[in-house]
Protein backbone atom coordinates (compact mmCIF):
# COMPACT_ATOMS: atom_id res chain seq x y z
CA UNK A 1 0.00 0.00 0.00
CA UNK A 2 2.64 2.49 1.16
CA UNK A 3 5.00 1.26 -1.53
CA UNK A 4 2.36 1.87 -4.15
CA UNK A 5 1.83 5.46 -3.05
CA UNK A 6 5.56 6.08 -2.85
CA UNK A 7 6.14 4.62 -6.28
CA UNK A 8 3.36 6.76 -7.74
CA UNK A 9 4.81 9.91 -6.17
CA UNK A 10 8.26 9.15 -7.50
CA UNK A 11 6.89 8.51 -10.96
CA UNK A 12 4.95 11.78 -10.89
CA UNK A 13 8.00 13.77 -9.82
CA UNK A 14 10.11 12.06 -12.45
CA UNK A 15 7.65 12.84 -15.22
CA UNK A 16 7.33 16.44 -14.06
CA UNK A 17 11.09 16.91 -14.19
CA UNK A 18 11.34 15.19 -17.55
CA UNK A 19 8.62 17.24 -19.24
CA UNK A 20 9.83 20.42 -17.59
CA UNK A 21 13.27 19.85 -19.05
CA UNK A 22 11.85 19.06 -22.49
CA UNK A 23 9.81 22.28 -22.32
CA UNK A 24 12.88 24.25 -21.31
CA UNK A 25 14.88 22.89 -24.24
CA UNK A 26 12.03 23.61 -26.67
CA UNK A 27 11.56 27.19 -25.49
CA UNK A 28 15.29 27.85 -25.30
CA UNK A 29 16.46 26.33 -28.57
CA UNK A 30 13.49 25.83 -30.89
CA UNK A 31 10.86 28.44 -30.21
CA UNK A 32 7.44 29.00 -28.83
CA UNK A 33 4.25 31.00 -28.76
CA UNK A 34 4.56 34.56 -27.49
CA UNK A 35 2.00 37.20 -26.71
CA UNK A 36 3.10 40.72 -27.58
CA UNK A 37 1.82 43.73 -25.72
CA UNK A 38 2.39 47.41 -26.23
CA UNK A 39 1.88 49.78 -29.13
CA UNK A 40 5.46 50.05 -30.37
CA UNK A 41 5.15 47.56 -33.25
CA UNK A 42 1.84 48.80 -34.72
CA UNK A 43 0.61 48.29 -37.39
CA UNK A 44 2.54 45.03 -37.91
CA UNK A 45 1.74 43.64 -34.47
CA UNK A 46 -1.19 45.07 -32.53
CA UNK A 47 -1.45 45.02 -28.76
CA UNK A 48 -1.94 41.49 -27.36
CA UNK A 49 -1.43 39.63 -30.62
CA UNK A 50 -0.17 36.08 -30.37
CA UNK A 51 2.80 35.14 -32.53
CA UNK A 52 5.25 32.31 -33.16
CA UNK A 53 8.88 32.93 -32.26
CA UNK A 54 11.79 30.75 -33.32
CA UNK A 55 15.20 30.75 -31.66
CA UNK A 56 17.16 28.79 -34.23
CA UNK A 57 18.28 31.68 -36.42
CA UNK A 58 19.75 33.38 -33.39
CA UNK A 59 21.94 30.38 -32.60
CA UNK A 60 23.09 30.13 -36.21
CA UNK A 61 23.61 33.90 -36.53
CA UNK A 62 20.89 34.18 -39.17
CA UNK A 63 19.29 37.42 -38.00
CA UNK A 64 18.88 39.76 -40.94
CA UNK A 65 17.87 43.33 -41.57
CA UNK A 66 14.08 43.66 -41.40
CA UNK A 67 13.49 40.71 -39.06
CA UNK A 68 11.35 41.25 -36.00
CA UNK A 69 13.15 40.00 -32.92
CA UNK A 70 12.50 39.51 -29.23
CA UNK A 71 15.35 40.79 -27.09
CA UNK A 72 16.04 41.33 -23.43
CA UNK A 73 15.63 44.96 -22.54
CA UNK A 74 19.09 46.50 -22.03
CA UNK A 75 17.96 48.44 -18.98
CA UNK A 76 15.91 45.67 -17.36
CA UNK A 77 17.07 42.09 -17.99
CA UNK A 78 13.82 40.58 -16.73
CA UNK A 79 11.60 42.18 -19.36
CA UNK A 80 11.62 41.58 -23.08
CA UNK A 81 11.22 43.95 -25.98
CA UNK A 82 9.92 43.23 -29.45
CA UNK A 83 11.41 45.35 -32.24
CA UNK A 84 12.52 45.27 -35.86
CA UNK A 85 16.20 44.99 -36.78
CA UNK A 86 17.08 48.09 -38.78
CA UNK A 87 20.84 47.78 -38.91
CA UNK A 88 23.43 45.06 -38.36
CA UNK A 89 27.04 45.70 -37.36
CA UNK A 90 28.78 48.18 -39.62
CA UNK A 91 25.55 49.60 -41.06
CA UNK A 92 24.96 53.30 -41.36
CA UNK A 93 21.71 54.37 -39.73
CA UNK A 94 19.72 57.50 -39.14
CA UNK A 95 19.77 58.28 -35.46
CA UNK A 96 17.55 61.32 -35.22
CA UNK A 97 14.90 61.02 -32.59
CA UNK A 98 11.50 62.59 -33.37
CA UNK A 99 12.37 65.69 -31.39
CA UNK A 100 15.58 66.35 -33.29
CA UNK A 101 15.41 68.74 -36.18
CA UNK A 102 18.67 67.81 -37.87
CA UNK A 103 19.40 64.44 -39.37
CA UNK A 104 22.35 62.61 -37.90
CA UNK A 105 23.99 59.35 -38.93
CA UNK A 106 25.84 56.75 -36.97
CA UNK A 107 27.41 53.33 -37.48
CA UNK A 108 26.41 50.21 -35.58
CA UNK A 109 29.44 48.82 -33.67
CA UNK A 110 30.68 45.26 -34.04
CA UNK A 111 28.54 42.67 -32.32
CA UNK A 112 25.57 45.00 -31.98
CA UNK A 113 22.26 45.53 -33.75
CA UNK A 114 20.06 48.58 -34.18
CA UNK A 115 16.41 48.01 -33.23
CA UNK A 116 13.42 50.20 -33.91
CA UNK A 117 9.69 49.75 -33.50
CA UNK A 118 7.43 50.08 -36.51
CA UNK A 119 5.46 52.76 -34.72
CA UNK A 120 8.17 55.39 -34.82
CA UNK A 121 6.14 57.96 -32.91
CA UNK A 122 5.48 55.66 -29.96
CA UNK A 123 8.44 53.38 -29.47
CA UNK A 124 11.33 53.30 -27.02
CA UNK A 125 14.12 51.73 -29.04
CA UNK A 126 17.71 52.13 -30.18
CA UNK A 127 17.09 55.76 -31.00
CA UNK A 128 16.77 56.18 -27.25
CA UNK A 129 19.22 53.69 -25.73
CA UNK A 130 21.66 53.12 -28.58
CA UNK A 131 22.61 49.88 -30.33
CA UNK A 132 22.11 46.71 -28.30
CA UNK A 133 24.50 43.72 -28.13
CA UNK A 134 23.62 40.69 -30.26
CA UNK A 135 23.73 38.52 -27.13
CA UNK A 136 20.53 40.11 -25.86
CA UNK A 137 18.46 38.80 -28.79
CA UNK A 138 16.26 35.87 -27.75
CA UNK A 139 14.40 34.93 -30.90
CA UNK A 140 12.84 35.94 -34.17
CA UNK A 141 9.11 36.45 -34.71
CA UNK A 142 7.84 35.41 -38.12
CA UNK A 143 4.26 34.10 -37.92
CA UNK A 144 1.09 35.48 -36.41
CA UNK A 145 -1.61 33.11 -35.15
CA UNK A 146 -4.02 35.45 -33.39
CA UNK A 147 -6.23 37.32 -34.35
CA UNK A 148 -7.34 34.87 -37.03
CA UNK A 149 -8.18 37.66 -39.48
CA UNK A 150 -4.47 38.46 -39.68
CA UNK A 151 -3.25 34.83 -39.66
CA UNK A 152 -0.04 34.34 -41.61
CA UNK A 153 3.48 35.63 -42.07
CA UNK A 154 4.24 39.10 -40.83
CA UNK A 155 4.35 42.04 -43.18
CA UNK A 156 7.42 44.00 -44.15
CA UNK A 157 8.35 47.18 -42.40
CA UNK A 158 6.19 50.20 -43.20
CA UNK A 159 9.24 52.38 -42.63
CA UNK A 160 11.41 51.22 -45.51
CA UNK A 161 13.19 54.55 -45.62
CA UNK A 162 14.82 53.79 -42.26
CA UNK A 163 17.00 51.07 -43.75
CA UNK A 164 20.46 52.01 -44.94
CA UNK A 165 20.94 52.27 -48.67
CA UNK A 166 24.19 50.38 -48.96
Amino acid sequence: MLRGVLGKTFRLVGYTIQYGCIAHCAFEYVGGVVMCSGPSMEPTIQNSDIVFAENLSRHFYGIQRGDIVIAKSPSDPKSNICKRVIGLEGDKILTNSPSDFFKSHSYVPTGHVWLEGDNLQNSTDSRYYGPIPYGLIRGRIFFKIWPLSDFGFLRDSPNGHRFSDD
Binding site: H24, S75, P77, P109, T110, S126, P133
Partner: protein
Protein backbone atom coordinates in the same frame (compact mmCIF):
# COMPACT_ATOMS: atom_id res chain seq x y z
CA UNK B 1 15.34 -15.60 -34.98
CA UNK B 2 12.10 -13.93 -34.02
CA UNK B 3 13.26 -13.92 -30.44
CA UNK B 4 16.49 -12.06 -31.26
CA UNK B 5 14.58 -9.50 -33.31
CA UNK B 6 12.32 -8.86 -30.36
CA UNK B 7 15.35 -8.39 -28.17
CA UNK B 8 16.83 -5.83 -30.56
CA UNK B 9 13.57 -3.95 -30.70
CA UNK B 10 13.23 -3.90 -26.96
CA UNK B 11 16.81 -2.69 -26.60
CA UNK B 12 16.30 0.10 -29.15
CA UNK B 13 13.11 1.17 -27.41
CA UNK B 14 14.81 1.33 -24.05
CA UNK B 15 17.71 3.25 -25.55
CA UNK B 16 15.40 5.82 -27.17
CA UNK B 17 13.48 6.26 -23.97
CA UNK B 18 16.65 6.81 -21.99
CA UNK B 19 17.95 9.16 -24.63
CA UNK B 20 14.86 11.34 -24.57
CA UNK B 21 14.98 11.52 -20.80
CA UNK B 22 18.70 12.06 -20.37
CA UNK B 23 19.44 14.65 -23.03
CA UNK B 24 16.83 17.29 -22.08
CA UNK B 25 17.54 16.81 -18.40
CA UNK B 26 21.28 17.23 -18.96
CA UNK B 27 20.86 20.28 -21.19
CA UNK B 28 18.49 21.92 -18.74
CA UNK B 29 20.86 21.20 -15.88
CA UNK B 30 23.79 22.75 -17.73
CA UNK B 31 21.69 25.78 -18.72
CA UNK B 32 19.98 26.46 -15.43
CA UNK B 33 21.98 25.01 -12.57
CA UNK B 34 25.71 24.79 -13.22
CA UNK B 35 28.35 23.96 -15.79
CA UNK B 36 32.13 23.92 -16.03
CA UNK B 37 34.36 25.86 -18.38
CA UNK B 38 38.03 26.34 -19.08
CA UNK B 39 39.51 29.80 -18.70
CA UNK B 40 41.91 31.07 -21.32
CA UNK B 41 44.08 34.14 -21.21
CA UNK B 42 45.81 36.20 -18.58
CA UNK B 43 43.33 38.96 -17.86
CA UNK B 44 42.17 37.54 -14.51
CA UNK B 45 45.63 36.99 -13.02
CA UNK B 46 46.33 36.35 -10.20
CA UNK B 47 42.89 34.98 -9.32
CA UNK B 48 42.71 32.70 -12.34
CA UNK B 49 45.48 31.27 -14.54
CA UNK B 50 48.34 32.49 -12.31
CA UNK B 51 50.88 30.42 -14.22
CA UNK B 52 50.54 32.48 -17.36
CA UNK B 53 49.80 30.91 -20.69
CA UNK B 54 50.82 27.34 -19.72
CA UNK B 55 48.13 26.79 -17.14
CA UNK B 56 44.44 27.03 -17.68
CA UNK B 57 42.01 26.69 -14.83
CA UNK B 58 38.65 24.97 -15.02
CA UNK B 59 35.97 26.84 -13.11
CA UNK B 60 32.51 25.93 -11.92
CA UNK B 61 29.90 28.33 -13.28
CA UNK B 62 26.79 28.59 -11.15
CA UNK B 63 23.77 29.64 -13.19
CA UNK B 64 21.27 29.15 -10.40
CA UNK B 65 22.80 31.92 -8.29
CA UNK B 66 22.25 34.57 -10.96
CA UNK B 67 18.80 33.44 -12.12
CA UNK B 68 17.35 36.77 -10.87
CA UNK B 69 20.33 38.77 -12.19
CA UNK B 70 21.53 39.45 -8.67
CA UNK B 71 25.26 40.03 -8.37
CA UNK B 72 27.41 41.72 -5.74
CA UNK B 73 30.43 43.92 -6.15
CA UNK B 74 33.53 41.74 -6.24
CA UNK B 75 31.86 38.63 -7.68
CA UNK B 76 33.58 36.87 -10.56
CA UNK B 77 31.02 36.41 -13.32
CA UNK B 78 30.96 35.20 -16.88
CA UNK B 79 29.25 37.23 -19.57
CA UNK B 80 28.24 36.73 -23.15
CA UNK B 81 30.76 38.71 -25.11
CA UNK B 82 29.49 41.87 -26.65
CA UNK B 83 32.14 42.36 -29.21
CA UNK B 84 34.72 45.08 -29.48
CA UNK B 85 32.57 48.09 -28.98
CA UNK B 86 34.89 51.00 -28.44
CA UNK B 87 32.03 52.94 -26.98
CA UNK B 88 29.55 52.18 -24.26
CA UNK B 89 26.08 50.88 -25.03
CA UNK B 90 24.50 54.28 -25.16
CA UNK B 91 27.35 56.27 -26.58
CA UNK B 92 27.20 56.01 -30.35
CA UNK B 93 23.95 57.73 -30.92
CA UNK B 94 24.98 60.85 -29.09
CA UNK B 95 26.84 62.37 -31.97
CA UNK B 96 29.81 64.41 -30.95
CA UNK B 97 32.69 65.04 -33.28
CA UNK B 98 35.23 62.65 -31.83
CA UNK B 99 32.60 59.97 -31.56
CA UNK B 100 31.70 60.42 -35.17
CA UNK B 101 35.33 59.84 -36.03
CA UNK B 102 35.31 56.76 -33.86
CA UNK B 103 32.21 55.39 -35.50
CA UNK B 104 33.76 56.01 -38.90
CA UNK B 105 36.69 53.98 -37.65
CA UNK B 106 34.29 51.31 -36.49
CA UNK B 107 32.54 51.26 -39.81
CA UNK B 108 35.85 50.61 -41.46
CA UNK B 109 36.34 47.73 -39.09
CA UNK B 110 32.85 46.57 -39.92
CA UNK B 111 33.43 46.76 -43.64
CA UNK B 112 36.62 44.84 -43.28
CA UNK B 113 34.89 42.15 -41.29
CA UNK B 114 32.53 41.60 -44.17
CA UNK B 115 35.47 40.86 -46.40
CA UNK B 116 37.61 38.90 -43.98
CA UNK B 117 36.75 35.38 -42.92
CA UNK B 118 37.61 35.97 -39.25
CA UNK B 119 35.46 38.90 -38.14
CA UNK B 120 36.02 38.59 -34.41
CA UNK B 121 39.77 38.69 -34.63
CA UNK B 122 39.63 41.69 -36.89
CA UNK B 123 37.39 43.55 -34.53
CA UNK B 124 39.63 42.74 -31.58
CA UNK B 125 42.69 43.93 -33.37
CA UNK B 126 40.81 47.08 -34.22
CA UNK B 127 40.61 47.74 -30.55
CA UNK B 128 44.10 46.56 -29.88
CA UNK B 129 45.49 49.06 -32.33
CA UNK B 130 44.14 51.64 -29.93
CA UNK B 131 45.58 50.00 -26.83
CA UNK B 132 48.14 47.37 -27.75
CA UNK B 133 48.54 45.68 -24.38
CA UNK B 134 44.99 44.33 -24.16
CA UNK B 135 44.36 40.62 -24.10
CA UNK B 136 41.02 38.93 -24.19
CA UNK B 137 40.29 36.47 -21.44
CA UNK B 138 38.19 33.83 -23.05
CA UNK B 139 36.13 31.04 -21.72
CA UNK B 140 35.37 28.19 -24.04
CA UNK B 141 32.58 25.95 -22.96
CA UNK B 142 32.24 22.74 -24.96
CA UNK B 143 28.46 23.01 -25.27
CA UNK B 144 28.23 26.56 -26.52
CA UNK B 145 30.57 27.90 -29.17
CA UNK B 146 29.56 31.46 -28.34
CA UNK B 147 32.45 33.25 -26.64
CA UNK B 148 32.11 34.12 -23.00
CA UNK B 149 34.32 36.44 -21.02
CA UNK B 150 35.07 36.11 -17.31
CA UNK B 151 35.49 39.27 -15.25
CA UNK B 152 35.05 40.72 -11.78
CA UNK B 153 32.04 42.92 -11.03
CA UNK B 154 33.33 46.32 -9.92
CA UNK B 155 30.19 48.41 -9.75
CA UNK B 156 26.44 47.94 -9.94
CA UNK B 157 23.78 50.15 -11.46
CA UNK B 158 23.78 53.68 -10.14
CA UNK B 159 27.37 53.59 -8.90
CA UNK B 160 29.94 56.07 -10.10
CA UNK B 161 33.28 54.45 -10.94
CA UNK B 162 36.68 55.92 -11.59
CA UNK B 163 37.81 54.35 -14.83
CA UNK B 164 41.25 53.24 -15.98
CA UNK B 165 41.91 54.32 -19.52
CA UNK B 166 38.28 54.78 -20.52
CA UNK B 167 37.44 57.86 -22.53
CA UNK B 168 35.55 59.36 -19.59
CA UNK B 169 37.36 59.61 -16.27
CA UNK B 170 34.22 58.96 -14.23
CA UNK B 171 31.29 56.88 -15.40
CA UNK B 172 27.87 56.46 -13.83
CA UNK B 173 26.69 52.92 -14.46
CA UNK B 174 23.23 53.11 -16.10
CA UNK B 175 20.18 51.19 -14.96
CA UNK B 176 20.33 47.48 -15.65
CA UNK B 177 24.06 47.56 -16.29
CA UNK B 178 27.20 46.55 -14.39
CA UNK B 179 30.84 47.57 -14.63
CA UNK B 180 33.25 44.63 -15.00
CA UNK B 181 37.04 44.51 -15.00
CA UNK B 182 39.74 41.90 -15.18
CA UNK B 183 42.08 41.63 -12.19
CA UNK B 184 45.08 42.12 -14.43
CA UNK B 185 44.79 45.82 -15.16
CA UNK B 186 46.11 46.89 -18.51
CA UNK B 187 46.01 43.34 -19.84
CA UNK B 188 42.29 42.92 -19.77
CA UNK B 189 39.62 43.73 -22.30
CA UNK B 190 36.86 44.91 -20.02
CA UNK B 191 34.46 47.74 -19.25
CA UNK B 192 37.33 50.19 -19.54
CA UNK B 193 37.24 49.39 -23.24
CA UNK B 194 33.61 48.65 -23.99
CA UNK B 195 31.80 50.53 -21.23
CA UNK B 196 29.11 49.24 -18.88
CA UNK B 197 27.60 45.84 -19.70
CA UNK B 198 23.90 45.07 -19.74
CA UNK B 199 22.81 42.57 -17.08
CA UNK B 200 21.00 40.63 -19.79
CA UNK B 201 24.38 39.40 -20.99
CA UNK B 202 25.14 37.89 -17.58
CA UNK B 203 25.83 34.19 -17.99
CA UNK B 204 26.89 32.72 -14.65
CA UNK B 205 28.69 33.29 -11.37
CA UNK B 206 32.09 31.58 -11.13
CA UNK B 207 32.22 30.04 -7.66
CA UNK B 208 35.03 27.44 -7.56
CA UNK B 209 38.21 26.44 -9.32
CA UNK B 210 37.89 22.72 -10.02
CA UNK B 211 41.04 21.89 -11.95
CA UNK B 212 44.02 21.53 -11.60
CA UNK B 213 43.45 19.68 -8.29
CA UNK B 214 46.13 21.54 -6.33
CA UNK B 215 44.33 24.80 -7.12
CA UNK B 216 40.95 23.51 -5.92
CA UNK B 217 39.42 26.42 -4.01
CA UNK B 218 36.41 28.61 -3.55
CA UNK B 219 36.60 31.87 -5.46
CA UNK B 220 36.24 34.66 -2.96
CA UNK B 221 34.09 37.64 -3.75
CA UNK B 222 36.55 40.44 -3.08
CA UNK B 223 36.66 43.95 -4.38
CA UNK B 224 40.12 45.54 -4.54
CA UNK B 225 40.01 48.48 -2.09
CA UNK B 226 41.29 50.94 -4.66
CA UNK B 227 38.45 49.97 -6.99
CA UNK B 228 35.62 50.80 -4.64
CA UNK B 229 32.98 52.90 -6.37
CA UNK B 230 33.42 56.61 -5.90
CA UNK B 231 29.79 56.94 -5.01
CA UNK B 232 27.35 54.14 -4.34
CA UNK B 233 23.76 54.31 -5.31
CA UNK B 234 21.68 55.81 -2.52
CA UNK B 235 19.56 53.15 -0.93
Amino acid sequence: MAQSQGWVRRYAKAFCKGFFVAVPVAVTFLDRVACVARVEGASMQPSLNPGGSQSSDVVLLNHWKVRNFEVQRGDIVSLVQQEASVEGPRATFQASKSRKQLSGFLRQAGVRTELEPAPNRKADSAVESRSPARALNKLRSPKNPEQKIIKRVIALEGDIVKTIGHKNRYVKVPRGHIWVEGDHHGHSFDSNSFGPVSLGLLHAHATHILWPPERWQKLESALPPERLPVQREEE
